[in-house]
Amino acid sequence: MERAEREKTQLITNQPYDESLEVNDSEEVASVYTPTPRQTVSRKSRRQLCAMANNSSDEYEEDSKPKKKETQPAGEQGLSENEDEEEEEEEEDDDDDDDDSDETESDEDEGEPGSAPEGAYDPADYDHLPVTAEIKELFQYITRYTPQTIELDHKLKPFIPDFIPAVGDIDAFLKVPRPDGKQDNLGLLVLDEPCTKQSDPTVLSLWLSENSKQHNVTEVKVKSLENPEKNPKAIENWIESISELHRSKPPATVHYTRSMPDIDTLMQEWPPEFEELLGKVSLPTADVNCDLGEYIDIICGILDIPVYKSRIHSLHVLFTLYSEFKNSQHFKALAEGQKSDTLSVPRSGTGDPETLTFD
């Protein structure tokens, strides 16, 4: 940086228009950022950087050099005027380093559309043609027209950067300490961030009231889920945690008000005749023309479950029986063969009932 600065100063002292450069200072933002020399880019370009930095002012005008004018095509306007100006200025800087400037000059001349490019038409190439005087005269029409130099616009298609990901800032240790004054080491041993597995407040509340037997205290907030179809994971997690909650509860006990046969008795085989009949006719389905109450009575009758005043108790026995069959390894194997014949309730998994008390 220092070197560049010094070099810049040196450049200026060699300029014929020192004063006008000084006016420049307010706009000279760029010069501060003049890069330190680096290996990858040639010296020439760095020198030009300094030049550019010096010439960032509009007011800084200079007599254009005649030799530059020659190569510069006429009729430029707008942007190209700017170019004209800048290039002249740059050349001014070049002067204190003759070798380099010559090099630049020749480079640019080559590219200048005004000068004859390689392979351009040269009437001298055709002087040798053996033609009549009349045709020679005709040939003069060729050089009588001087082709215009057409200036073409340039268009910089800016390099649009890639999208920029965000990584966030670094912990600034602007954090509240533990109320008990102990070290929490957050931001030191671990990042101060919550862990990815956070308890579900609803589930945890249910847990807490379950454990403390204080059912009355909390109104459990159940959150609703937006776009559930897009978030099957959340639903699964919810079902999983609720069923875990239920599993953890003590098994349900029902106090029957009237005596009920025990399940083992009910699981005994039917008489052979009845079994035989079942091979021919199936058990009455729910399509039987009767209401639900009557249907329950029929099924309970078939299964030897007594029905008293309320059917609830009988139904409980019925489902207990079903659950017992369903969980029995023996009958499971048996049922594999003749699924359709058994009383199949299309429900997967009976939820463990809450503890019920009836009066």
Binding site: S45, Y121, K155, A166, A172, V176, L189, V190, L191, K197
Partner: protein, 555 residues
Amino acid sequence: MILSRVKPAVGGEAPTSEKKKKNKGKKTPRVEDYLNQRDYLGSITLLEFQRSAGEREEDADLWLGYCAFHLGDYRKAMEEYKALTERSGCPADVWVYLACTLFFLGFYKEAEEAALKAPKSQLQNRLLFHLAHKFNDEKKLMGFHQNLEDVTEDQLSLASIHYMRSHYQEAIDIYKRILLQNRDFLALNVYVALCYYKLDYYDVSQEVLAVYLQSIPDSTIALNLKACNHFRLYNGKAAEAELKNLIDISSSSFEFAKELIRHNLVVFRGGEGALQVLPPLIDVISEARLNLVIYYLRQDDVQEAYNLIKDLEPTTPQEYILKGVVNAALGQEVGSRDHLKIAQQFFQLVGGSASECDTIPGRQCMASCFFLLRQFEDVLIYLNSVKSYFYNEDTFNFNYAQAKAAVGNYREAEEVFLLIQSEKIKNDYVYLSWLARCYIMNKKARLAWELYLKMETSAESFSLLQLIANDCYKMGQFYYSAKAFDILERLDQNPEYWEGKRGACVGIFQLILAGREPRETLREVLPLLRNTGNPQVEYIIRALKKWAKDNRVSL
């Protein structure tokens, strides 16, 4: 409340095991257990349950504030602390806690007011230090800087300021020094990795980060950084996969850094959903505005991009680059010299800076700067140095070919122009005219003529004709020059066109005599000449006919 020593959750142990254990043991859960897991939702739920159950723990409100704060729910924390400050007998330190929450909520003025009500403490000084940075108050910043002590927290806070001011090396120095004394401060590895990421050392960042992820494989901040490294090192797909992993392991109640993740998903998917996700994140995540600008630029909506960025005071190289790009695009679109000047200065600033001069964007900036200054030799120096990264990139090739053509290297310019795929560029007059010039300079005038034939009649096709007529003339390719002048003359009775056509027709004749053009071409010359009602025509035609007769060429 009995509190065991805080031991962070490290490695292996699945976070759910705590719940299971509690489940089996049926012990009353303790807040401390949740804090150890950094399960702040759990601890908050428990604290609130206890509160509603009437079990008033000591400092329950302070604990709630603490948990909400570390959960990142600064609003809830703020409400807790605010309620506390309104109570009589509130500890004075609560003011600085309140100030911290206000700081993270972006209420900087209010944060300062609250912080000043608290007694002097290291935390208060750190907060005021960062507030001074937010207010750009250098004098205050220096004051609070001097009050910083040689304790870990203060030093880390200082490092964080270095990071925000883009002084990454200084930050790394602090972290490395502290790490040397405290090898178990694993989190510092992530901070170092963040610095290396910002320094574009993505593989180094990845290495340092791995140290932390080995112990804490489910860290949100670390996994997000890993995804960002993947984005830079590989591509958006690889990055998205990494982020998806993070989303999958997070529970649905997890809200921390959700905005960051949504933002980065847009980035990794190449801008998909930008208009839905980014606008509300502007001024929350600093990159969101820049990305929206990039999105608009890619949609060619330069005006919208400009509106978004015009009031932004650039501080980072990315911001300077983007402002430069928008100004360059707009300046060229509306023909404003002021915008182009700004663009050129910003490009030069970035490209010339010590940190960016050797990066690809830095080189692109320098090239853009010289392009706007029309110094194409220099444009080429910079573009050549990065061209291996941009093979087949239309934008790069368009600029590169123009620069090559501008310095007279028409052969390579033509090759590069022809690599461009984008239809939009290929229909751009700048492309067409420069390619035509390259063709002519490379003695392929016929191809230039075909470019003209494919164009709709317009001011641009007229300009292209002039280019073909004159450039071909210059290059002695008189046949297409004559054809072009002929049409020009028919469109506009400018005597100059006649002179051009006359010269070109005679030129064809000369080429025939020199054996460089088939004699039959003469047949096409006569009608071209006859299209003009100038008396000179007859004289020329007579001469040509005479020669044809002498040389037995049938006309």
